[in-house]
Every structure is written in structure tokens, then in C-alpha cells.
Symmetry: C2
Subunit: 259 residues, 2 copies
């Protein structure tokens, strides 16, 4: 059983922070392994001689840091580290498309997890401001919008929305729910838009409640945002892909010259 200290009334930190610090220490030192159950609120009240709200506040602190997950009716558990997906910047290499694999499937092959895609929706709609700028079209110009959610071993890890100009991809299989082998990039090349380069803009923030839901992550878990723009050999922007990834599940790798 886990050994915890006592509250030090001389310590300037309030009791709930001291309790949180002791639990954090236990987690980081390995005294509480990933997946292990923390003492219940009742146990913390008993051990430290505090009211329930004080014990809860300590737990709340750790939830906010993403260190633990509370499961209603079961207990509070040390968050298990999810498998990390490393995304290298060659993940859109033409060689993969030639082999009939979209980028997500190619990664899954390499990293050895079971890929999945669901919640696919294709429609036409007005381009939001930031998207229109990147596609170099007027705001609200009608574009093709492809939404989908990616799963790894059945767990959602990323939601993505692609925007493509109608003159580029209108009427092609890009507008089908299943665009066929190699994904939409292969279809763009079929349509004569040979891809030349990509830019990615990477940021991080806390998720909206909707995103939390779609990615099945708890509070205290940030998301990585990646906005990718694809350019063809003419220098035209042919796709903007706006993705939101569960941050703990990802590591993005980029390689660039010193010039």
C-alpha cells in the first residue's frame, strides 16, 4: 500500500496543494505506476484529516495537469502513457501513394498499429477566412470540405478537415466518401495536380469541449493543431488540411537544411 506523509501546518502551501504534491511525487517516483488506483477521497479524508472538498481539490489539481484520470464509480487512476505516434515529414512521400497507401495507413504500417477512419463527411461550403487566405481565394468562396476522424487501435487520435477548391477537385473522386487507393493526394495527382511541396503550421492549445469529445480525452489534455497546405508544381495551393491531434499521442518530426 502507498505510504503518504502528513500535512505540515507550517508549510506556506495550503493543505490541498501539499496533498497534491505528495501524490504527484508518488506518481513521478514510480510509487504509483501508470494505471494504478489513487487512494479514494474517503481514504484521503481519513489519512490527512481534511474535509471531502479539500481532498477533491488535491485530485482536481492533478487532473488539471493531465496526470490522472477520474472514472465515475471506479476511482482515480494514474494516466497510462499512450503509445506515441511519430510523424516524420516524409509521410506524404509519393512512394507511399504509388503503393496505394494514404499517409495515415502508411504510418500505421510502419508503427504497427491498427488504423481506422470514421465520421467521414464530404460537402461543399463557404471557405472560412483563414482557409480562404491559404488557398488564395476570396473568403466564402465555395470549396469542397472533407471531414474525418482517425483512430489508432480503435482509439480516436486525430480529427481532420480538408478544404479543396472546386476548380481543382470538383467532380473527382475527392468528393466521394471513399476516394480510393492512395487517398485524396493520389486523386489530385490523377487530376493533373502533381504535388510539389507542403507547409505545416503547428500550434498547441486546450481543446474545445467538442474536440474533447471527439478525441475522447479528459480535461487537462492539450491538443496539437497542424494546418497543412499542399502546393502543386504550378505553385498553386490545392488543399488546406486543418487537423487537431491529442497531444500526448504525437511527436512531429521535421527535417530542414541550414541553407
Amino acid at each position: 500500500m502507498l505510504q503518504l506523509g502528513e500535512i505540515d501546518r507550517a508549510d506556506p502551501r495550503p493543505p490541498y496543494r501539499q496533498i497534491a504534491a505528495m501524490l504527484r511525487e508518488a506518481i513521478e517516483s514510480g510509487g504509483l505506476e501508470p494505471g494504478a488506483k489513487l487512494p479514494s477521497e474517503a481514504a484521503l479524508m481519513e489519512h490527512f484529516g481534511v474535509a471531502r472538498m479539500t481532498a477533491r481539490q488535491a485530485i482536481q489539481e492533478l487532473r488539471g495537469e493531465g496526470l490522472v484520470i477520474a472514472e465515475h464509480g471506479r476511482g482515480v487512476f494514474v494516466r497510462p502513457m499512450p503509445p506515441v505516434r511519430r510523424l516524420a515529414s516524409d509521410r506524404f512521400a509519393r512512394a507511399h501513394r504509388a503503393a496505394g497507401k494514404a499517409a495515415f495507413l502508411a504510418e500505421a504500417d510502419k508503427a504497427g498499429y491498427q488504423p481506422g477512419v470514421d465520421r467521414i463527411r464530404v460537402a461543399r461550403a463557404g471557405a472560412p477566412k483563414g482557409i480562404a487566405e491559404r488557398l488564395r481565394v476570396e473568403a466564402e468562396t465555395e470549396v469542397i470540405v472533407r471531414e474525418r476522424r482517425y483512430l489508432a487501435n480503435g482509439r480516436p487520435v486525430e480529427i481532420a478537415t480538408s478544404y479543396l477548391p472546386v476548380p481543382v477537385a470538383g467532380g473527382t473522386p475527392v468528393e466521394d466518401v471513399d476516394p480510393g487507393p492512395g487517398g485524396i493526394y493520389a486523386r489530385l495527382e490523377d487530376a493533373g495536380h502533381t504535388l510539389e511541396r507542403f507547409t505545416e503550421e503547428v500550434g498547441a492549445r486546450m481543446p474545445t469541449p467538442d474536440e474533447r469529445n471527439a478525441l475522447e480525452i479528459g480535461p487537462g489534455v492539450p491538443v496539437l493543431t497542424v494546418v497543412r497546405t499542399a502546393f502543386d508544381t504550378e505553385g498553386a495551393a490545392v488543399e488546406v488540411c486543418d487537423t487537431v491531434k491529442a497531444a500526448p499521442a504525437y511527436l512531429l518530426e521535421y527535417d530542414f537544411p541550414a541553407r
Copy 2:
């Protein structure tokens, strides 16, 4: 004055979530502008007819999302959006070093903010495991360690730690607190290590309490982690730089070919 709705007892969401949703809506719609003061806890209790803890819980929800900042004795305010620093992948271009500017100064010039560096510490120490792997040396091999904190307009935005092998940079100005014009990359090139390329590994997570302190960010604000490895023309890893950036202040840009 801000107009808020009422709690709907038929709504399946608990009251505190409904209150949080109304406040969030007010913030996102612009009814509450950045820097504006939210209704006080007392005002929320009065308006919604709830106990104080319920009102606090609603505020807590928004703090966790990083949308608002509580200031003891003053009130709760909509978080002002900090200026975003866009980092392009050409920020380590040799042209800048030739002009006598380290990467951080070159960015500041371009973006028009006042740069600053403090908390500089240089020492030698054993290489941590992950660093040693990237430098391709044995773990615990003695390396040069350079720590510093970067400021933009006086506000801390990034903490960074560089690790360099002693055979590469030992005894050079890289070990001085001020390495001179062009920064340590210029000194590496002076020492014959012409830089060829970089890799960066990007992730995001919640900060440790130490990092929160150093970056002066509140709870609910994630950090971007960037681990950069510099390679010279011999293909040798000559530096690993581990950085932690306040996420809301950054957007990283990368450019790569479709191959």
C-alpha cells in the same frame, strides 16, 4: 452590462456546466472582449440562484480551458491573446549568422518585438539519456550544457537548454555566457563545424510547476516542446537544443517537399 440566460432544469448538463457554457459563448461571440472582467462570484450566485461553489465550478471550467485568468482580489478576466510569434524553418539560415544575429534576434527584428535573454547558465554535466542518444554518445558522457530563458517585450516566452559534446565545442566561446555575434551556431562554424541540417521533434503537454513559473503562465496553458538536433556537413550531431515554449505565443512553420 453582460446579458446571461437562466439555468434550464430540463437540460441534462449540470448547472455549473450550463453557466460555463453561457460565459464561454459570451467570450467567443465577443460579448466579453479580451481583458474584460467576468461577473463576480457573488453576481453569478445572485443571477443564477446557485451556491458559491457552483459558481466557482463554472469559473474553474473556463480556467482549465485557459480562456480566463483569475486575479486574487481583483476579479476574473478574459485572457488577452498574446502576440503570436511565427517561427519559420529558415530561422537558422546562415545569412542571419553572417549578419551577426542569433536566431532569436533575427526573429525579433522581423516580427518587431524587443528581444531579451536572461537566466543564462553554462556548465558541464552528464548527458541525460534522450540527449545522449541524439548526440550519439554514451549516456552520462560529459557535455556542455547551456541554459537560458528568452523574453519578448519583457515577457518570458521560452526556456531552452542546449547540449554540445566537449570534443565539438569545449574551450570555444560556446562555453562563455556571451558567445558573441551570431550566437553559438556561428561559433560552431568558426570551429570548423559547418552546419548542414536540423531536425526538430515537436510535441505539446501541460507544463510542470517549474516551467509554469519560468514562463509566467497560469494553469490551463499548455507548452510546446521542441527538441532540435543540429548536424554538420560530416553528418555528426553537434548540438541538441531542448526548448519549452508557452504554446499560445507560438506558431511553428515548416516547409517540406512532396518528394
